[in-house]
Symmetry: C3
Subunit: 149 residues, 3 copies
Amino acid sequence: MSFTSSPASSAADAALQAEVQQFYAWQMHLLDDGEADAWAETFTEDGVFAANAHPEPARGRETIRTAAAKAAAQRAEEGIQVRHWLGMLDVRPQEDGSVVALSYALIVNTPLGGSPQVHLSTTCRDVLVRGENGGWLVRDRQVKRDDLA
Amino acid sequence: MSFTSSPASSAADAALQAEVQQFYAWQMHLLDDGEADAWAETFTEDGVFAANAHPEPARGRETIRTAAAKAAAQRAEEGIQVRHWLGMLDVRPQEDGSVVALSYALIVNTPLGGSPQVHLSTTCRDVLVRGENGGWLVRDRQVKRDDLA
Amino acid sequence: MSFTSSPASSAADAALQAEVQQFYAWQMHLLDDGEADAWAETFTEDGVFAANAHPEPARGRETIRTAAAKAAAQRAEEGIQVRHWLGMLDVRPQEDGSVVALSYALIVNTPLGGSPQVHLSTTCRDVLVRGENGGWLVRDRQVKRDDLA
């Protein structure tokens, strides 16, 4: 990644920063609580979830919902509480009204009766668009695990 | 936890997000610096601190102060620097002027001369109210460790 | 560190919080991407980077640039992706227009093909000033590793 533009400095950009953080908090709570239906609703109908750990991107809400439900069931069976931490969020408003959001993410796993482990460190590049109710939706997500080439 | 409401999207909500983050930074610095008196002042006089790791909640500033002072003394004796990280903050303004703040917390312990350890992963549910000077105070805190059922 | 002042509570302070977070995200992405030139430009020409792990502070952009380039080359050789996480940010506007920013930082290292490790836990005390383009620059940074006395 190359970062050559200036940092945002207007009040509007600052408000956007806080707003996107609120969105991510809400979205990650849904994921970690296993709320696969509500999680899928935070993507656009044709939303894409790509990851360098997966051979093919997940395309569309239904696929994203199914993947989240499956992962939640597996974690419940294993007795593991997952927490997704996003941070170091760089928010870049685009001319078409969308937002490119660049962030880091840590996945912290805690087994029942055990100690938390930092399972993965990744970057996340999102394209966010406004939904009908004014809130943000993910149109495109690209997750890159730091341990993979 | 179930999250069914929409994410906040107004400028006021965005400003609140940043303001509550500032409060938590200030509060956690106090805790980790062992400033038990000033820490206790960030709760209301009748503030409650409940945790699924404790049989009974701590009730009132005096109890909260005593518990913090005891924990600080123990950490100093063990030569451990504790850092409380709050993140993934979902701020929900209530009709009565209070705020429900849902967050994740990591406790990172670093022994003198050693490596940092992610000691605990928890969730935190706060009810915040405005104090006389306009700043936020915790009226009710519920901490749930992820490793406990 | 002692924190005795009240937490910031105005809308302006809240906007500043978000703005400084945006700056740090941008700055840390540069560092972790090995963009030593752009990283050095986030300090003032006479910027100082002091750390309790180093016998002498780095003084001036050129010194800061050289140190970052060297560290980036070494990490690339070792196959380690470093991520700097700043958080628990307490932003304090000063009368002269500068900002004192107190934060925590974690350094998370991920080797190619391996698991992430929380390498270091530190505090960071910055003095930030506005650059010619309106963005923030670091005039003085003091990093304290929690594992050192």
